[in-house]
């Protein structure tokens, strides 16, 4: 988003985007080199990167990232597959709306991680359990935004389509879904980070492989470089997922005016 009139400072912004992280790295190097802070708390960056390289090469890190990504994406896909159709149905069918509306408004603000011990009781501590927990955590966000988006479709669109003889399924696919899509996607963009946060929290609590379990073990064994390496890796995973969803939005909404505005 380049604002008019800021082109002159744009180059300086670009430089600072690189310079500030570089400065942080330099400060970290200095702190690490002269041991200004207890190296147990803040290990020298070289040690962290050495660790990252080491677990990258011996396959530990790729395996942990793959496990976490698999669970987070499976949970997200499961939640989308159930909640987007359900949300559309709730928005269009009065009986469903009556039943689900209070449940969504109560369930939406509840801290879903508190339910993790229940899922451990029901499904154990392996993949299924972690995936279902993360899907459960992000499902309310998807449901609430989908219902909101599909309920607020411009009436004139619906009436025009109906007067032109659109069938119910055509109305859904050709009018309601495209009109609601921008807001549904916004909901998904909020839901995916929730799925990732919950996956990592579930991995920490339930143990096993994956970034969360690996980091928690490193933390318990006071292996600081391992913890920092885990944070860097999960930051990278989070960044990757967010960027993928932004690209998906651009692709899915290439016909939508919002894409022209940002260019």
């Amino acid at each position: 988003m380049s604002r008019p009139g800021t082109t002159a400072t744009f180059g300086a912004d670009r430089i600072l985007d690189v310079a500030v992280p570089a400065a942080i790295l330099v400060v970290w190097l200095i702190v690490g080199h002269w041991k200004l802070v207890d190296p147990f708390l803040v290990p020298p960056p070289l040690e962290v990167f050495k660790r990252l390289a080491q677990i990258l090469v011996d396959g530990q890190l790729p395996a942990a990232i793959a496990g976490t990504l698999y669970r987070a994406i499976a949970a997200f896909a499961l939640a989308v597959a159930i909640c987007v159709p359900l949300g559309l149905a709730i928005a269009r069918i009065a009986a469903l709306r009556w039943f689900f509306d209070p449940l969504i408004s109560i369930g939406f603000p509840m801290p879903k991680v508190a339910f993790i011990p229940i899922f451990i009781l029901w499904l154990g501590v392996f993949d299924t359990s972690k995936i279902v927990v993360a899907a459960f955590a992000c499902s309310f966000t998807i449901l609430a935004t989908t219902v909101g988006a599909a309920s607020n479709v411009e009436r004139a669109f619906v009436w025009s389509a109906l007067s032109l003889g659109a069938t119910r399924s055509a109305l859904l696919w050709e009018v309601v879904l495209p009109a609601a899509l921008p807001r549904i996607l916004t909901g998904l963009q909020i839901a995916l980070p929730i799925a990732l946060i919950t996956t990592i929290a579930a991995e920490m609590i339930m143990g096993g492989a994956g970034l969360g379990g690996t980091m928690m073990r490193a933390g318990r064994f006071a292996d600081t470089p391992g913890v920092y390496a885990g944070i860097v890796a999960s930051g990278a995973v989070g960044f990757l997922l967010v960027k993928c969803l932004e690209a998906a939005r651009r692709w899915l909404l290439s016909w939508h005016p919002e894409q022209r505005e940002t260019r």
Binding site: T9, D13, L16, D17, V18, A19, V20, P21, I24, F40, L41, W98, F99, F100, D101, P102, L103, I106, F108, P109, M110, P111, K112, V113, A114, F115, I116, P117, I118, I120, L121, W122, P193, L196, I197, T198, I200, A201, M204, I205, L211, G212, M215, M216, A218, G219, R220, A222, T224, V227, Y228, G230, I231, S234, G235, V237, G238, F239, L241, V242
Partner: protein, 251 residues
């Protein structure tokens, strides 16, 4: 009339509660897997009277309150400073871009190493995780102020501080409050997951403890307490937003 309507609106919740009680009482689901709702209610009453829930709730709420207060001050001041000064904006923006995608639960092992299993680690974790949504909403809200309003104020001789306090902050209030709502949700997630993992007190610890001991009515009772508290906090914040934004035209 409105009481009746509210009751009717929440009827599905009552239906769900009855179904829960029935499936267990009729033996469709073992009470080893799902304790009956009445047993959970009894356990909740016992824990309230014997003081377990109040004791641990006090520890949890203090952590949440301190963490959120720090986040509100740091996030609010940081966001306004970024709006007021281009230099601060340019310095902080790349750092925000770096911190933003990190899933905040990944910081739990870090605060464990820094602060151990006491309250400090949770307060720090919550402060860290909740500062970002408040800062970003303050920044976005205060930046999006109508230019002509700012120019009018400046032409009438308003100082920079006055335009900030009298115009930018009120104009940003809807977004700041929305950010506060997100922050509260984050706060509960971080509080509960850190207490489940690295704690010796607090409601999260109580849940984990009952879970490991296999006393499920008690575990469900504490979980529902936490869930209900989260719901109430959200409703309180909504009521506060409505009160603070009562000058706004209803949308």
């Amino acid at each position: 009339m409105s009481v009746l309507r509210t009751l009717l609106r929440y009827l599905p919740v009552a239906i769900l509660a009855v179904v829960w009680e029935l499936v267990v009482r009729l033996g469709l689901v073992s009470d080893q897997v799902l304790p009956a709702l009445s047993d959970v209610a009894a356990a909740w009453w016992r824990l309230m009277v014997e003081g377990d829930i109040p004791l641990h709730a006090k520890a949890s709420f203090a952590r949440a309150a301190y963490g959120l207060a720090i986040a509100a001050v740091v996030g609010g001041v940081g966001g306004l400073a970024m709006v007021q000064s281009r230099a601060v904006y340019r310095l902080l923006n790349p750092i925000l871009q770096m911190l933003y995608p990190i899933p905040k639960s990944a910081l739990i092992p870090l605060v464990l190493i820094f602060f151990g299993i006491g309250s400090a680690s949770k307060v720090f974790l919550i402060a860290l995780g909740c500062t970002l949504p408040i800062l970003l909403s303050t920044l976005n809200g205060a930046r999006g102020v109508d230019r002509s309003v700012l120019w009018s104020a400046q032409s009438l001789g308003a100082s920079r501080l006055a335009t900030l306090w009298e115009i930018r902050v009120p104009a940003a209030m809807p977004e700041i409050l929305a950010g506060a709502r997100t922050a509260t949700a984050f706060c509960f997630i971080l509080l509960v997951s850190s207490e489940l993992l690295i704690s010796r007190d607090g409601l999260g610890y109580l849940i984990a403890n009952f879970g490991e001991a296999g006393v499920y009515p008690e575990m469900f009772a504490v979980i529902l307490t936490v869930a209900f508290t989260g719901f109430c906090a959200d409703r309180l914040l909504l009521a506060l937003s409505r009160f603070m934004l009562r000058w706004q035209a209803p949308s």
